[in-house]
């Protein structure tokens, strides 16, 4: 498999992803489009319902009826959710949409993350990640990847994105300035990443696309990088 990555920077080290736990599939959710973590719960976008579950027990605890077609993010108090060509800012308590901004990819958007006062939006087949102003949707800068982007997350100053191209799916750490691939976690064959969020500690939560599952993947120790 490593031969196929000749396009990558040679420094990128590849490991097999270590899947710690699987959640779901959840009732009435055929696929997972995006995931986020609010400190206690994991939220998963399932098309028309945003569901929250307890990562300890795996039991669903909340559900908000709202269109949720792709990435999900949490800024400490609000949820952000990509729906069609816009990003909705949602009050997690009431489920009310407080504001909407246009999505930078005009509907080609996939992953969503919150970090350092900005939203980071993956643009799926265009293999890009945009940093945008969460108030206006204006693009601040753009990072080019060399794989489809299906999920984006920040943790400890590291930018990670999920990729799923054909049958190959990985979680990759990229240089936020150059887009260079620094580290790669290969998912097993047939296991795909459709959304990505770190819990701020040792785990990533990954949407499993049409499998309807959410998987917890161990984040490698920062040592050596």
């Amino acid at each position: 498999m490593s031969q196929k990555t000749s396009k990558d920077k040679p420094q990128a080290t590849a490991h097999m992803a270590e899947i710690v736990r699987e959640y779901g599939p959840f009732a009435g959710a055929a696929s997972i489009a995006g995931v986020t973590h609010d400190g206690q719960r994991v939220w998963a976008a399932t098309g028309a319902r945003l569901i929250a579950f307890d990562p300890e027990s795996g039991e669903p605890t909340r559900a908000l009826d709202c269109p949720c077609d792709a990435g999900t993010a949490f800024d400490g108090s609000h949820l952000y959710q990509i729906a069609e060509q816009r990003i909705d800012k949602i009050d997690p308590a009431s489920g009310k949409v407080l504001a909407s901004i246009p999505a930078p990819g005009h509907g080609n958007d996939s992953g969503l993350a919150w970090a350092e006062g900005s939203l980071w939006v993956g643009q799926h087949r265009d293999r890009k990640i945009h940093q945008i102003d969460p108030a206006t949707g204006a693009i601040i800068r753009t990072i080019e990847s060399n794989r489809f982007v299906t999920g984006v997350t920040w943790v400890d100053g590291e930018l990670w994105h999920g990729t799923w191209e054909g049958d190959e799916s990985e979680i990759r750490r990229v240089d936020p300035n150059s887009g260079a691939v620094l580290e790669r976690l290969e998912m097993p064959p047939g296991v795909n990443v459709s959304g990505l969020e770190s819990d701020g500690a040792g785990l990533f939560y990954c949407g499993g696309g049409g499998s309807g599952k959410v998987r917890a993947v161990r984040r490698p120790k920062a040592a050596g990088s």
Binding site: G47, H106, D167
Partner: protein, 406 residues
Amino acid sequence: MDSLIAASARALAAGDILGALKRVALRDDPPALALRGIAMAQLGEHPRARELLRLAARGFGANEELARARCVVAEAEVALAARDLGGSPRTLTAALATLEAHGDHANALQARLIAVRKLLLLGRLDEAEAALAPLDARGLPPSLAAVAELAAAELALRSLRIVPARVALARAHEAAGHAGVPALLAEVAEARATLDRPAARRLCADGEQMLRLDEVAALLASDALVIDACRRGLGTGAAWQSLARRPVLFALARALAEAWPGDVGRVALIARAFGTRHPNESHRARLRVEIGRLRALVTELAQIEATAQGFALKPLAERAVAVLAPPIDGDQAALAALLADGAAWSTSALALALGDSQRTVQRALAEMEAAGRVRSIGQTRMRRWLSPPLAGFTTILLLPTTLQME
């Protein structure tokens, strides 16, 4: 999958075709093309749908062969719905291999069912049966299970296996109910109705009696010697002698059977078999020859005894004789009865079976085709005639399972 693709797919799955189209109308990336193709197919725009699905298949990258295979399957299904049966099966076979290699069982079954339905429409029943036999419909989406059972029912009805046909139709009904697709339910109901319609007449000395398909099957399975003017042959139980290519012998057998247990005079037999009312010595000689041939062919089933007037049919083991005829008289009914086996017939074979000229048969077929009671495939000498399928195979219904592009 990106957000508008997801939203469009969600709309399509909910039956909002125009909503799905609206979201991806201006996009030309492969997933959008595939969704547009499926939406167009559901709107009945078959040529445009095929074009879009073909573009989508071509647009997916080398490492997206699963998505490409799903597009190929969707396009094959639209081709089937448009009754374009000319395509090579190789593309579909290759797509099927890809789907199986990736463990996409639902769409692999879908591809197999498309192949089976195509064989059924082409009248290649043995191949269809062989392709259908290994399919396991359990645990699969109910809409696919319903189609598999409908195909099994069609095959069973064509070969007059009524009990398996009923069982398959009951399962199809149940699966279609689970799928909640009205068009599928209607198709099952239509196929079930054929079981209750008159399929043939039994001619007796004191008149005639309409028979349903199961009664026909019961009669054919009974101990009686049946002279079947629908399929052109005679038999008892499993013993069957086809006379489809021997119209003179069949005319003689039918005349003898209609008169049974009495005999038929030579003049009457000559009139029936040779179509002349003024027989001469050569007709008599020919009648002797043809009776000799018929006697040799049916020796396992019956004897033909000479009487003072002419000849009489004497079934072996004191069996009764029954004559089965198409539900109504006339060329068209006879043609429809012959085609009811579901196989593909050439015009010349039909003409030979009915003992009519090709011209007469062609005229009758043209009228029936205009009325939608027969279908033809191929052109000129390769043209073959088939009865319409018992199940209509409204195919578009199954397309949404190909939707899960990722």
